[in-house]
């Protein structure tokens, strides 16, 4: 998922300043890391070189001229192509809980591992309650609800893993014992 493609998507319906692009990105994708201005301008420059984006100087009465960016026909074709391409599922999802659980069994004992997992579950549930409250808020925007759904699904996957790991822990303990 390149920043360039995301910016092209945001340019699809209206021409914009770099400044507006950064703010629209951050508002629409609250769960993503906010874009730095430098990142936005560097990406726009790369897109310009490829001919995907065009730039027009606009006079500004209150200060220096500003640049307005627009999607070119070639850029539109690339965007359509990108929208139809699937993303690669990451084959190795980092699981810090498995690492900690295994180390708790190795370096401490079964009760320490179980206590860690129980507390991790409670911490996850606390976050899930917060996300659910956000979803129930009638003022939540669609992008907020979609972001909350995504976060909830991932936290739920962690919780399910924790539950199955708890059931397996006796076997796990035998495996990691030297």
């Amino acid at each position: 998922m390149s920043t360039g493609h995301v910016l092209m998507g945001l340019l699809a319906n209206a021409d914009r300043h770099g400044y507006d692009l950064k703010h629209e990105h951050d508002a629409r994708f609250p769960a993503s890391r906010p874009l730095a201005f430098g990142q936005v301008y560097a990406a726009l420059e790369r897109l310009g070189k490829k001919g995907f984006v065009g730039a027009t100087e606009v006079e500004n009465a209150d200060g220096p001229n500003r640049t307005v960016y627009r999607l070119t026909d070639e850029g539109r074709r690339e965007l359509d192509d990108w929208l139809r391409r699937t993303e690669e599922p990451s084959p190795f999802v980092a699981n810090p809980f498995a690492v900690k659980t295994t180390l708790a069994l190795l370096a401490a004992d079964r009760d320490t591992a179980i206590d860690f997992m129980d507390r991790q579950r409670a911490t996850h549930l606390e976050r899930m309650r917060e996300l659910t409250r956000r979803k129930l808020d009638p003022d939540s925007s669609l992008s907020n609800v979609l972001a909350a759904d995504f976060a909830l699904a991932h936290l739920d996957a962690d919780v399910r893993w924790l539950e199955s790991a708890l059931e397996r822990i006796t076997h796990l303990e035998q495996e990691v014992q030297p």
Binding site: D118, A122, T123, L125, E126, M128, R129, D156, V159, E167
Partner: protein
């Protein structure tokens, strides 16, 4: 720590007047307490010392793996099953020693129950199904029908009043069943996997309605679920494992976990 006391087996059992914290941080006496409850089905020990406290208007999620004793705990808390040992205290009064007749009367007036499959009477319309608990309790037909219409409306299914269960979707049946569970305006709603048979989106819609209506009515909810996403609708969670309860209260804002 400003969380409810953890009903640990090793600790002395909580007294019915132990203060609980509600969502807004005010202390209040628990509405319903299960203390050291034991229950066995013949030789099958399903509960071995379970503890639970529900504050007025609180939504409490009871979670745990399949077979851990969640449904049994709910039936004991709701006075359907009398515990082999331990106590159930409602509004400061021990109800587990009451006769079946007394508990049955309490269930009709103070408790509402909702199961995974709504258990509506298929021959009756939605309106008749929802009016039923009031009629059984001696209400006049007119009055019962008006109340049924009101509760169907609160659950967003007023237009189903003359529809029979076989002509409803799963989500519609659960909303009607929820209206029937709430029509007596109970102080506690017991919901056992209320969305367990529904797909994600209709399950979500039903949970949204249950939470909204319970909050508006000030009804406490004991929400039984094995699903963490459903448990996240609650204010608090109690875990059941092998017939015992374990309450984990982690307060992130106090930096408890940092």
């Amino acid at each position: 720590m400003n969380q409810a006391p953890s009903p640990n087996l090793a600790d002395p059992a909580p007294s019915p007047h132990d203060a609980l914290q509600t969502q807004d941080g005010r202390a209040s006496a628990p509405l319903l307490t299960v203390r050291s409850a034991v229950y066995s089905y013949g030789s099958e020990l399903a509960l071995q010392g379970a503890n639970l406290q529900l504050a007025p208007g609180e939504i409490l999620a009871v979670t745990g793996p399949s077979g851990s004793g969640k449904s049994t705990l709910m039936l004991v808390a709701a006075g359907v099953l009398a515990p082999t040992a331990g106590q159930v205290i409602f509004n400061g009064r021990v109800i587990s020693d009451d006769s079946e007749g007394e508990r049955s009367r309490l269930r009709r007036t103070e408790f509402g129950v909702l199961f995974q499959f709504g258990q509506l009477v298929p021959e009756l319309t939605a309106g008749e199904n929802v009016a039923l608990p009031l009629l059984l309790d001696g209400a006049k037909r007119q009055q019962a029908r008006a109340a049924a219409g009101l509760w169907l409306e609160r659950f967003g299914v007023a237009d189903l009043i003359d529809v029979r269960p076989p002509d409803m979707s799963g989500g519609q049946s659960q909303r009607v069943a929820a209206a029937r569970a709430m029509v007596t305006e109970p102080s506690v709603l017991f919901a056992d996997e209320p969305t367990g048979a529904l797909d994600t989106m209709s399950g979500e819609a039903v949970m949204r309605e249950i939470v909204r209506v319970a909050r508006e009515a000030g009804t406490g909810v004991m929400l039984i679920t094995h699903d963490a996403k459903v448990a996240a609708y609650g204010d608090r969670e109690v875990l059941v494992r092998d017939g015992t309860t374990n309450e984990l209260s982690i307060n992130l804002r106090n930096g408890d976990d940092r």
